[in-house]
Symmetry: C2
Subunit: 420 residues, 2 copies
């Protein structure tokens, strides 16, 4: 049983926004055992939407449409649904009440005729309640296939998927189990890894698939499988993952399913009751932002000093002016002093420091664009490494941030193992 | 003349990655006058790709395929192209030399058989040089339609689009001019704005289109048009934009085409030779990260103190413990002291400060989740406002960061106007 996601919106086709909705829906569908066959983004145009619906109906059993549900003239999904299902719009009193309530609460005003239209739905549709907005979701069945329409505003869509769509799909259908396990590797290119894994791939069972996902210096290896017997698939997956690790042991750094590095580190810190701060130059707050994106970060992350000029590195972080003069502000020695002083100022167990040239220019330093020094201060030492993260700016910042958390994690693991 | 983008990759269909490539390609195509008719994401499956190619050929003149070009077994684009165009793979010596050079430079090793395969391309294809990786781009023509294949790694794809694809398309075809102008509004809902604009929309010329894009408290109004006479379309666009602004003057905050708020602010700061720092609690470095994402930010942004605990607010930012005790750490008074002290410590003209509850819990404070105080210290005063950005955490952080930059911009405009 497969699904297709149809995204309606010129704003995606002109590149004004990135379609994050489809990725979210795909991930959630996968979790309950539904594979996504295709994602199609179409124009705000009735004929185009009708064509996409007909093609999706031919290929899949579940069709999820997002967008085109607002109260304005460019929102045409509901009328298009009426034409596709030979239906007409009728007023839904429950939706009308919900819209009236939202308006009273947030705008302290009665609703207008335009808003009233939000309560019109095709007569054949079952309404799905939108907890976070006025446009209702809709569920229409035809020849045992399900058509679902959701608003395009991301948090409204997410609410509908989790509270309405997934439970309803699981009630209606029986889905298989889908498993993914993704090994993250660092240090070798895709083709070199592929050469190592040639035999492993040749002997993969038919219901397993291996994919290579290279990006930003890492190659992720994803093993995927599907089956009706949960235990069997899981057992076979575990066996294959163990075998796969043997081939890439030297470059394996973890499983993607364990979560983002900032989430994994958060758990380490809470478990070991230790604390962290950062002193950032070229990463400009990106490390602090990553760390604080995790709920509960205040339990271990005390804060950061973004020292974006030499003067601030001296005035606030107390890096010695001699060190800066002698070695330049982008240097191993400055990174080291930043980490030591940061750890002292915030009174933490660990501290991260970065200094480098994110680019596009080198700002009077003697190091080239992309060069970054990362220092990790631990309870008993300071470790510094030099990297060249290339270009462009955005990539240098991202790679430096992720790399510093990976270095930190290695140190934590070492120290907590030693203390056993 | 329209284009279709076909993205190949199970990683998108299982929601493992978000397809940012299509948005990038769409935006770049629009700039040279090419409309994107559809974006289609398909599985790593030969039959599925063949089907997508045939459908795209029926609907459009330019078909851009990304992904499936690596050297590994799951990368099947080249073989699929051979089947589609009734072609065979031949070795391209230039590509081979390029791959060998890259390997010598980055891995200090000769290439393997797997890498050598990167140099195989369909005999009918013109090779497009990949400056940032080993997999070449390809350009195949059929009945005056163009098929282009690009690697899926974002920075490799971007290099190919800008250095190879766009120039080649402009040489081959004559494109019309496409214009978009997007007004950002803040403070009213989509439906209320739509009611105001009903007449304006009814009288829009046929070659103009108005779209409503609501998200995160803002509604963007996008006027789009297309035409062969650049001057005429531009003139008509300017006239309509002026008319549109009159209807929404009270909620209009700027044009999206002027760039992201952090870019706009950067220009303000450089033009006025003024400086900035931030003191962040609930935004956790997100403001510093936004500001430093702009190249050249070091000219005006001096740094940030991320004070993620009450103690750090006292120890490093010198917020008085009495203020925290009396008003709570999430309060107007604490935000104000943070901004004043930050401005002093960094010796800047302006400072931003935030304190609030990003959630999901309120961490022993007396304010509810989503409540954020933002303070802006200017050369002659301090301004503080209270907001409720709702939920979830990620949205609170994002809205608080953007809002603080919007408040800052308003103050800069006021002060620089006064000084004229």
């Amino acid at each position: 049983m497969q699904a297709e996601i149809i995204t309606i919106g010129d704003e995606i086709l002109i590149g004004q926004i990135v379609d994050t909705n489809s990725a979210y829906i795909s991930k959630e569908l996968n979790k309950i055992g539904v594979s996504v066959y295709q994602i199609t983004t179409v124009q705000d145009d009735k004929q185009h939407i009708l064509k996409a619906l007909a093609e999706a109906e031919e290929n899949t059993d579940i069709i999820i449409v997002t967008g085109g549900l607002g109260p304005t003239k460019d929102d045409i999904t509901k009328n298009t649904f009426c034409e596709y299902f030979d239906d007409r719009l009728v007023q839904n009193d429950e939706v009308l009440k919900h819209v009236e309530l939202l308006f009273a609460k947030y705008f302290s005003m009665p609703i207008s005729d335009v808003n009233r239209k939000q309560a019109l739905v095709p007569s054949k549709a079952k309404v799905l309640k939108n907890r976070f907005g006025t446009a209702p979701g809709m569920w229409i069945e035809k020849n045992n296939k399900v058509f679902i329409s959701l608003p395009g505003v991301p948090y409204e869509m997410r609410g509908l998927i989790n509270y309405e769509v997934l439970p309803a799909l699981q009630e209606k259908f029986q889905f298989p189990y889908i498993f993914h396990k993704t090994l993250i590797t660092y240090g070798l290119g895709e083709s070199i890894i592929a050469a190592r894994l040639e035999k492993f791939e040749d002997h993969l069972p038919d219901n397993f698939k291996l994919a290579y996902l290279p990006n930003l210096g890492k190659v992720r290896l994803r093993l995927s499988s599907k089956g009706n017997n949960k235990e069997n698939v899981e057992k076979e997956m575990n066996r294959l993952v163990k075998e796969l690790i043997i081939h890439v042991e030297d470059i394996f750094i973890g499983f993607e399913e364990d979560g983002a590095i900032e989430t994994v580190i958060g758990k380490d810190f809470i478990k070991n009751k230790i604390t962290l701060a950062s002193a950032e130059s070229c990463t400009g707050g990106a490390i602090a932002k990553m760390l604080t994106s995790v709920a509960g970060a205040s339990n271990y992350f005390k804060g950061s000093i973004v020292a974006y000029s030499s003067k601030i590195k001296q005035d606030i972080l107390h890096v010695s002016s001699k060190t800066i003069e002698k070695y330049s502000v982008v240097s191993m020695q400055v990174a080291k002093e930043m980490a030591i002083n940061c750890k002292k100022m915030f009174n933490t167990d660990y501290a991260i420091a970065t200094t480098g040239n994110a680019g596009p220019t080198t700002d009077k330093t003697d190091k080239s664009v992309g060069v970054v020094f990362i220092a990790i201060a631990t309870p008993n030492k300071v470790l510094v490494e030099e990297f060249n993260f290339g270009q462009p700016r955005e990539r240098v910042i991202q790679r430096a941030s992720v790399k510093s958390l990976e270095m930190l994690r290695k140190e934590i693991l070492k120290n907590t193992l030693n203390s056993l």
